[in-house]
Symmetry: C2
Subunit: 377 residues, 2 copies
Amino acid sequence: MSYSDYFGFEILNTSSETNARAGILKTPHGNVLTPIFMPVGTNSAVKMLTNEQILNAGAQIILANSYHMYLRAGCDLIRKAGGLHKWMNFNKPILTDSGGFQVFSLSKLRKITQDGIHFQDPINGSKHYITPEISMKIQQDLGADIIMAFDECAPYPCDYEQAKSALDKTKKWLERCFEAHKNYRQALFPIVQGAFFEDLRAESARFVSKFDAAGYAIGGVSVGEPSEIKNKITAYTAPLLPFNKPRYLMGVGTPVDLIEGIKSGIDMFDCVLPTRNARHGTFFTYSGNKIIKNKQYESDFTPLDENCDCYTCRNHTKAYIRHLFKTRESTAGTLLSIHNIHFLIKLSQDLRNSILENTFESYSKKLLAGFNSVNKN
Amino acid sequence: MSYSDYFGFEILNTSSETNARAGILKTPHGNVLTPIFMPVGTNSAVKMLTNEQILNAGAQIILANSYHMYLRAGCDLIRKAGGLHKWMNFNKPILTDSGGFQVFSLSKLRKITQDGIHFQDPINGSKHYITPEISMKIQQDLGADIIMAFDECAPYPCDYEQAKSALDKTKKWLERCFEAHKNYRQALFPIVQGAFFEDLRAESARFVSKFDAAGYAIGGVSVGEPSEIKNKITAYTAPLLPFNKPRYLMGVGTPVDLIEGIKSGIDMFDCVLPTRNARHGTFFTYSGNKIIKNKQYESDFTPLDENCDCYTCRNHTKAYIRHLFKTRESTAGTLLSIHNIHFLIKLSQDLRNSILENTFESYSKKLLAGFNSVNKN
C-alpha cells in the first residue's frame, strides 16, 4: 500500500514558453483541476459563507487550519464526528496545514526547541506543545485528504543564520513527519523553506524531493515581503521540485501573484485575501482591485465586474452592495466574498484552459495588463 | 381604476372554533398564501442572508423599512434604480412600513406636532421632518406592493390621554395618507392604534374600516408589553376589522404569538426576532427556543430540530454550528437565521394547511404544547 493507491497527478499540457502546466489532481474525495485556487475555511467554514455558496462559487478543494481546529474545537470532537468532511458536511477534498505557520504568526510566548514548539493560546492563555508527531496525530484526527508537514517558517526579513537554522529544523521534522504518518488515504506534502536565499531554497527543494510524496509545497512566502521578491523566489524554487507532482504555493495570493505563480509551474494556491478583502469592502475586477464604498459607485447600477458570472454579479449592482456595506449589513461581506472567491477560482480555471489551448502566454499577458491598469483609471 | 385591479384577497376556508382563516393575497408581484410570516429586510436585505437564501427558506413576501431606506440610501437613489424590487433584485411582493414606528423607537430629539414628526438622525444628527404626505411620497419612491399609513405609536405603558391623543393624530393622518396616495399599484394599509384600551381600539378599528383598503394592520403592539396583553388586544381587535380583507399584525412575533394571532384571525406577521435571535445564538424548535452555545450541544451531531427540513437542518449539526458560533464565525448567524426564518414561514404554512383541512384546533394545540414544553426539559 502507498499513497499512490489514493492519489494521482496527471499533467495534461504544458506551456511552451513558461513553466505553466494544466493537470488533474486525484484524491479520495474527487478530482481537482489544476492550477486551482483553494478558499480558506480557517475554523472549518469559509468566512461569511455556507458550503452551498462556496460550491456555487466553484470551489473544488478547501483548506482548514489545524491550529484553529485543535485549539477551538478539539481534535477528539472532530474525530468523533467522523473527520472534517463529515463534521462540516463538505464532500470534496480538504487540505489542512500543520499549524506551524499559525503558531509562528498567531501565538504568544512561542518557544521553539529542536523537538517542537511550545506556545500559549492567545485567547485563553492555555499552554500547548506541538511536535511533528503531534501535528501528524492532529491532522490524522481531522482526516483531510492532504496534510502538511510541520515546519518552522522564518520571518521576513531574517538573516542567513536564522533562515538556515529554521530550515535545518524543518528538514529534521520532515523526517519525523513521514516516520509518524502511515495513513495512505492522507497525502503528506513536504514544505520547502529557506526564506529568500536561493542556496537554502535549492537545498530544501533537493531535500524534500528525496521523499516520495503526492505533492510538494513552497512555504515561507507571503510573510510580509514585496510581491517581486515572492515571485522571484517562487520562480527559482518551483522548477526544482519534482515535475510530475503538484506544487502548492502556500498563502498566495492576489490575481497577479496567481498568474506569476502559474507561470513558474505552481499548481495550487490558497489565501485568506479574497474573503478578508471582501469583509473590508475590496473586490477584484479584471481591471484591478476596487473599493466598494467609493462615492463613484453610489448610483452605479452595474455588477462588480461586467465579465463575471458569479451569483453576486448575476444578481446585484455596485450601488446596492455599496449601500449594504455602508449600513454595515453583513450581507455585503457575503456578496463580496462570493465574488472574490469565484473570481480567483475562475481565474485559475481560465488560465488552465488557456494552457490546454496553448494560449497561456498571450492570455496571461492580456490579464496582467488589465490587473495592472487600475491606477490609470 | 382602483387598487382592486391589482390586489385581491380570497378566503379559502375558516376554522370552525376560532377566527383562523386560510387565504390567498394577490399582489402585482404574485400571490401570498396566508397566514404568512414575512421576514424583515430593514436596509433592503434580510440580515446575514442573500435573496437566494431567503427564497429557499420559503419567503413569499418581505418587509423593508422606509425609515432606513430614506435616511441611509435616499429615496432618489431607489427611484433611480427603478424601485425596491429592482434595487434589491427581489421579484416577489415587498411591504414597506411608513417610518412612524422607527421614528418613535430609534430617533433622537423627536418632536410630534399635529402636522408630522420632527426628528434627528441618531447616526449623523441631521434634521428631518416627516408628514403623512412625505411618508406617502417616500413609499411611492420605494415602490413596494404594500405600503403603510403614517401613524403615531403610543408607548407601553401609557395613560389613556396619551393613547387617545396618538390615536386622534393617527386618524387625521390616515385621511391625509389616502388623500396623498393615488398609485393603485401600491396598496395602502391603514393601521389600528389605541394602545391597550379596548374602547380606543374599537374606535380605531371602526374608523379604518371606513376606508376601502386592500388590507388593514394592527399596530402599537410588540412595544414591550407582556405576551398575554398583546394576544388579548389582538383577539379583541382583529374581528373588528373587515372580514374579507387581510389583517396584518405588525412586529409579531414568536412561534406562540403566531399561533395566537392566527387563532384571532390574523393573516400576516412580521418580526426581526428570527434573525435577531439567530445572531444571538437562539434557535426555534418544536419544543421551544434553545441556545446553541449550551454545553449540551458540544458533541450533538443532530440537526437543530429533527422535524425541520431547512438548508441548515438538512446539512449541519448542532455541534458544528455551536463551534462556529463560539469562534464568532458569522456563518453561524447565517445558518441559524436560515433555520429561524424557515421555521416561522413553515409554521405559518403548516397552520394554513391545517385550516384548509379543518384540523387547526387540534394541530395548533399540539404545537402549543410543544412550544411551551421547553422549561420542562
